[in-house]
Amino acid sequence: MDFQLTEEQEMIRKMSREFSDEVIAPRAKEMEETGEPPYDIISKMAELGLMGIPFPEEYGGSGGDWVSQLLCTEEISRGDVTLGTLLDVTTGIVCQELYVFGTEEQKRQWMVPLAQGKEIGAFGLTEPNAGSDAGATQTTAVLEGDTWVVNGTKQFISNMGYKNSSLVIITARCPQFKREDGKGVINTFVVPKGTSGFTIGMHWDKMGLSSYPTNELVFQDCRIPRDYLLGRDGRGFAQHLQVLETGRIFIGAIAVGLAQACFDASLAYAKQRYQFGQPIYSFQAVSFKLADMAMNIALARLMYLKAAWIKDEGLPHSLEASYAKLFSSEMAERAASDAVQIHGGYGYMTDYAVSRYYKAAKLLQIIEGTSEIQRYVISHNL
């Protein structure tokens, strides 16, 4: 048993922390207000190699491990959650899906620029009528000769609205190829931006994370070559679920970063805010909230790191990923609520970062499988 990070992991954490404190955090308020993605910061993250830490250098990565990528994600998210979720989708899910299931050619063509951070990838699972029930996909892909013809709509898709978004990986039902139950199999496909018949539709305004683009994607007789099928025929849904497990560890790390930001802001405020002639930290009503916050953050951090470590060991980790996602996101929502409470009236004002944290925290209980879906996963693994 050894809780010590390696030298390399510790250095990556320190660098990410400095970058987050010095470059990201000072810009977070402006990003939320303008809704503009911080392209300069994203390209700096790419230059530093933060977008592909666990992948081999030959595929554009840095040859590190998932623990390092997630430590980095925690620190980045502490500065601003939108950049953590960017990493979750492009690195944790899209890059990984290409890396694990892609052919050599697909990796060279699509994964390398994503892992290098030059391009951004998106992941299209959710549909207007397929949310938690992601297997109910209504998007179809029909093979005509050597071309797949895709029709359907994907909803609330992150990462496709950046200037340098390059592709989306989608799930679609293929009615020509039946499963045992008579339904068409679900496959995954790569659809590059600019493909005829693929439109990046409406941009959603969200409660928080405004600088993080969320769009509807429309496929109307969208034709892609046969070899844009990713992975094994008929295994698309299973493949998606497999990489989503990693997405859940990412949400764990993002939530810990967010909760840490809540804690740091609240501790500093509680020590300098005087009421009744003393700092409000001297009242147990406040200091006990902070004690709970500190303890829960420490626990959540252990959970996502353990899940990441198991993943690095190449062992099954769906239970640990769900534990980390569920506990951390619920913990972060509580921490954000307490952070606003500790700040009182000021906390509700947008001048104070905690109001932004509160809006961001709610999302973490929904994306990459709601809290309810995590409980479902956990209960079915017991």
């Binding site: 030298e7 250095m11 660098m15 010095e22 530093l48 840095s62």
Partner: protein, 269 residues
């Protein structure tokens, strides 16, 4: 001038950004004591010196050797020098190096620099973030008998010379110095770049070279506390008293006059 050899002195210090309440003074031992919450970092001015060296290397190529003296030097802290682009890292690391003064430290660093042998430019921070003595760079230059320029905000190397800009209160001086030379770098030069993942991965695989006093031809009695020439007689935290006195008056003008009188009485006007 290709192949310029640079040595950057970098010291591990307790993070000066840590809350002041975590720094205590042991008045018996005349030592500063910090809790485990205060993490070590590379002294910030030394980071600027490292950045100066990296900019020269970006332009001209060459070799950067980072040199650090201390005891219990934390590897993931000091290896930042390698991660950002230094080629070698040499640690003068031993219990005997503990508790030195500017003299014994400069003396030991010079012994190491002589052992390294090849150097065109030695870069130091203008002072350390912990003791702020600002003597190491000058001490090294003095012992080696080479020129030194302090408070440098910009440096360019051409043809066995360095053109530097030295910060003065109202602006800066342009100075040309022949090499080899020591320069001490100030914050105006700009912050140290971030280490890239590639740099970190390479640094983690590289081991620093560790030299004990004997490796640089010194006795334990010549380094650290034993080699001190300065005795610290008293280290204490001054007690700061803040008193608030409200100056009153019937009218604003009268209150203003009373305030002026009170300030004059306190010899502040």
């Amino acid at each position: 001038m290709p192949g310029i050899n640079m040595i950057v002195c970098s010291k591990q210090v307790p993070d000066p950004e840590a809350p002041p309440s975590l720094f205590k003074v042991d008045t018996v031992a005349n030592k500063m004591v910090t809790g485990p919450e205060v993490k070590p970092v590379i002294s910030q001015y030394d980071e600027f010196a490292l950045e100066a060296a990296l900019r020269i290397k970006d332009k001209l190529g060459g070799k950067i050797t980072a040199l650090s003296l201390g005891n219990k030097i934390v590897r993931d802290v000091i290896k930042k020098a390698l991660a950002v682009g230094a080629d070698d890292l040499i640690l003068l690391e031993d219990e005997a190096f503990d508790g030195g003064d500017s003299w014994s430290t400069a003396h030991a660093l010079v012994a190491a620099i002589k052992k390294i042998g090849q150097y065109d430019l030695i870069l130091c921070g203008r002072q350390s973030s912990d003791w702020d003595a600002g003597q190491i760079g000058l001490g090294i230059a003095e012992i080696l008998g080479i020129p030194a320029v302090t408070l440098v905000r910009k440096v360019e190397v051409t043809d066995r010379k360095a053109k530097v800009e030295r910060v003065i209160p109202d602006g800066y001086e342009k100075i040309e110095v022949t090499l080899p030379a020591v320069i001490t770098v100030t914050s105006e030069l700009g912050a140290l770049r971030y280490a890239t993942l590639k740099g970190i991965m390479a640094a983690a695989k590289k081991q620093p070279i560790v030299w004990k006093p004997a490796d640089i031809g010194l006795e334990s009695s010549q380094v650290g506390a034993a080699g001190r020439r300065i005795k610290l007689t008293k280290l204490f935290q001054p007690v700061k008293e803040a008193k608030c006195e409200v100056i009153e008056g019937e009218t604003a003008a009268e209150a203003g006059a009373n305030l002026a009188m009170r300030l004059r009485q306190a010899k502040l006007l």
